[in-house]
């Protein structure tokens, strides 16, 4: 099957007064139509940077290299007009921390209708409004709330409006950056159920970003774990979560205990040391200063992503089958 999205050797470098910050350092992956990829990793490892780079949404002056093929076309070299169309109809994003991104003085229905009218994906205003109400219904917001202003909705409802908005022009790919992190458990479950339903019903492909591995395993077929701007482990999500082969993935999985697991009772599990500074990465494996398994050889060279088990890959010299 041809990939819907194919990211090849993507790098993103920020420029700051302190010098260059290589936030994404060579990431490659493919996503099939209807597939879902979960992207995990701790704060600052480059997840949002990568998500924004895929849709060329980073501000000017930031160096991006590599290829982002959406179907046959490279997003990174597309003409601006085409790019605008692709951003709603090809792939759409739900931004991190965007609960306040809704326009406070515009009814939610009008905020969803706007891109539909702009991109002419429905014949007229009436059809656009009907579609907006449909979309709100699909994310579990009843028609009688469509005329509400954002402040009349709860946080979870606003988050669902943002998802409906991203789906306005029926994109093939949805990128959701921490869409449930600010929500309580019950609302998080509601939002995840909505995404799951859309995926089953419309073959929507998804990239889902969060640092909570258990959420990703729940939503996605495949999982990629990032550390310091690179993918350090990937594979089928159940497998990565239950049998992680990279020591960093193991630490991340242990950080969210399974309720009922006696070993973690009264025994929280963490990782020593501080997250890496992307402007000054350690030599060798960037994880070695914090790695409980590190040996001398780990300081020599940065390990490539290689098979670590059936269908699983890891960037660790000790994780070889």
């Amino acid at each position: 099957m041809t990939a819907l999205l194919s990211v090849r050797d993507l790098t993103v470098t920020y420029r700051t007064s302190q010098g260059e910050v290589p936030a994404v350092r060579g990431v490659s992956f493919e996503l099939e139509p209807g597939g879902s990829l979960g992207l995990a990793g701790e704060s600052g490892c480059g997840k949002s940077t990568m998500a924004n780079a895929i849709l060329r949404l980073l501000p000017a002056g930031i160096t991006t290299t590599g290829e982002v093929l959406l179907g046959e076309e490279d997003v990174l070299t597309m003409k601006p007009g085409r790019l605008r169309a692709v951003r709603w109809t090809g792939a759409a994003i739900v931004f991190q921390g965007a609960l306040h991104a809704l326009n406070p003085v515009q009814r939610v229905i009008d905020q969803i209708t706007e891109p539909i009218i702009l991109h002419k994906t429905e014949p007229d205003k009436k059809a656009a409004e009907k579609r907006a109400v449909d979309l709100l219904g699909q994310v579990g917001i009843p028609a009688n709330r469509a005329e509400d202003y954002p402040h009349q909705l709860s946080g979870g409802q606003r988050q669902r409006v943002l998802i409906a908005m991203a789906l306005a022009c029926d994109p093939d790919l949805l990128i959701a950056d921490e869409p449930t992190t600010a929500l309580d458990l019950m609302v998080q479950a509601q939002v995840l159920a909505v995404l799951e339903k859309l995926r089953a019903e419309r073959q929507l492909s998804m990239i889902f970003i969060t640092h909570d591995l258990s959420v990703l395993t729940y939503v996605c077929d495949r999982l990629a774990v990032m550390y310091a701007g690179r993918i350090v482990e990937r594979g089928p999500s159940d497998q990565v979560f239950e049998r992680p082969t990279h020591p960093y993935t193991r630490a991340l999985a242990a950080a969210f205990p399974t309720i009922g697991d006696r070993e973690s009772r009264m025994n929280p599990s963490g990782l020593k040391g501080d997250p890496p500074d992307p402007a000054a990465l350690p030599a060798g494996c960037p994880f070695h200063p914090r790695c409980p398994d590190a040996i001398d050889r780990c300081r020599d060279a940065e390990p490539p992503l290689l098979p670590s088990g059936p269908a699983q890959e890891a960037a660790c010299i000790l994780a070889r089958p």
Binding site: E42, S43, S154, G155, G156, Q157, L183, D184, L185, M186, V187, Q188, A189, Q190, L192, A193, H211, D212, L213, S214, V215, T217, Y218, A251, L252, A254, A255, F256, P257, T258, I259, G260, D261, S264, R265, M266, N267, P268, S269, G270, L271, K272, D274, P275, R290
Partner: protein, 317 residues
């Protein structure tokens, strides 16, 4: 039996028509971690502010060591909030930040020594490395540890923590929780921690209290409560924890509960799966669910759920 450090007695806190806290009894013992969980808007932060003495009860009492709680207890009662960055003054050094509590209580001892001890205890070692740094010169996890050091420097007897690790990296979270548990075990500190994260409760709490719409609706020792929840709301909450995937999910539907319009009878009844499935009918309690408020859980309760079905089943079985 040991004396409770904090006793909350039939507490009500209203904001206009909103009954944010609507009848709560609770005791916190010295040397225990009590996790307060529950839906967004159920009154957890309001309850914590009342224990701090920052919000006045509409009725009922909050006693700290037998005396009415008020802000004067502050050296003995300290707070840790969700966002460490917002809690730290960017123009103060770590040492000034940590010393602040001592200055407020006009501490007579050796300030520098007390600050260093607090930093070491909070895992910032050696303390000299951090004393002269500003908040932006340390990592997010280190900032939260500075907040904890600042809270611990006055050797409080009670720490109130509102989502203390929600803003932190997964990898740092375990370290901070370990630190809190350790302080409790070594100093006899009591911690009341508010969280949406049941894994946190599993990791460090002795007891869990579950709030719903202004009331505690279930309380019990952590292992018992999380392994075999009794109240239908607690059951639903546990069923949607992403890692309990074997369980059938009970996603509650219906409008978000509103403290201005607390339902009659059991406040959970409009969303209760037990009532909706006809189980209440079979147990012969459906009328009660809709019309009679289950009794408020007492502060002395070791394991209790405010639910007619739980009572009916206990009587029958």
């Amino acid at each position: 039996m040991t004396e409770a450090l904090v006793v909350v007695e039939d507490l009500h806190i209203h904001f206009g028509a909103a009954r944010a806290v609507d009848g709560v009894n609770l005791a916190v013992m010295p040397g225990e971690v009590l996790a307060l969980v529950g839906e967004s808007g159920s009154g957890k932060t309001t309850l914590i502010r009342a224990i701090q003495g920052l919000t006045h009860p509409t009725s009922g009492k909050v006693l700290f060591e037998g005396k009415e709680a008020d802000a004067r207890h502050l050296p003995d009662v300290q707070m840790v909030f969700q966002d460490p960055t917002g809690a730290l003054n960017p123009r103060r050094t770590v040492s000034e930040i940590v010393a602040e509590g001592l200055r407020i209580e006009k501490f007579k001892g050796n300030e520098a020594e007390a600050v260093s001890t607090a930093l070491s205890r909070a895992g910032l070692r050696p303390p000299e490395r951090f004393l002269r740094r500003f908040p932006h010169e340390i990592s997010g996890g280190q900032r939260q540890r500075v907040v904890i050091a600042g809270a611990m420097v006055t050797e409080p007897r009670l720490l109130l923590a509102d989502e203390p690790v929600a803003s932190l990296d997964a990898s740092i979270r375990g370290e901070i929780l370990g630190l809190l548990r350790n302080l409790v075990d070594t100093t006899g500190l009591a911690v009341l921690v508010v969280t949406h994260d049941l894994g946190l409760a599993w990791n460090i709490a002795d007891r869990v209290a579950v709030m719903y719409l202004g009331r505690i609706i279930e309380v019990g020792p952590t292992e018992e409560l999380l392994d075999s929840p009794k109240h239908p709301y607690t059951k639903a909450l546990l069923s949607v924890v992403p890692e309990t995937r074997g369980m059938e999910q009970q996603i509650l539907s219906g409008e978000i509960p509103d403290p201005k319009r607390i339902p009659s009878g059991c406040r959970f009844h409009p969303r209760c799966p037990v009532l909706q499935s006809g189980e209440s009918e079979r147990l012969g309690i459906a009328e009660r669910c809709r019309g009679e408020d289950p009794a408020i859980i007492s502060a002395a309760a070791t394991r209790e759920a405010a639910c007619w079905a739980v009572k009916a089943i206990a009587v029958a079985g």
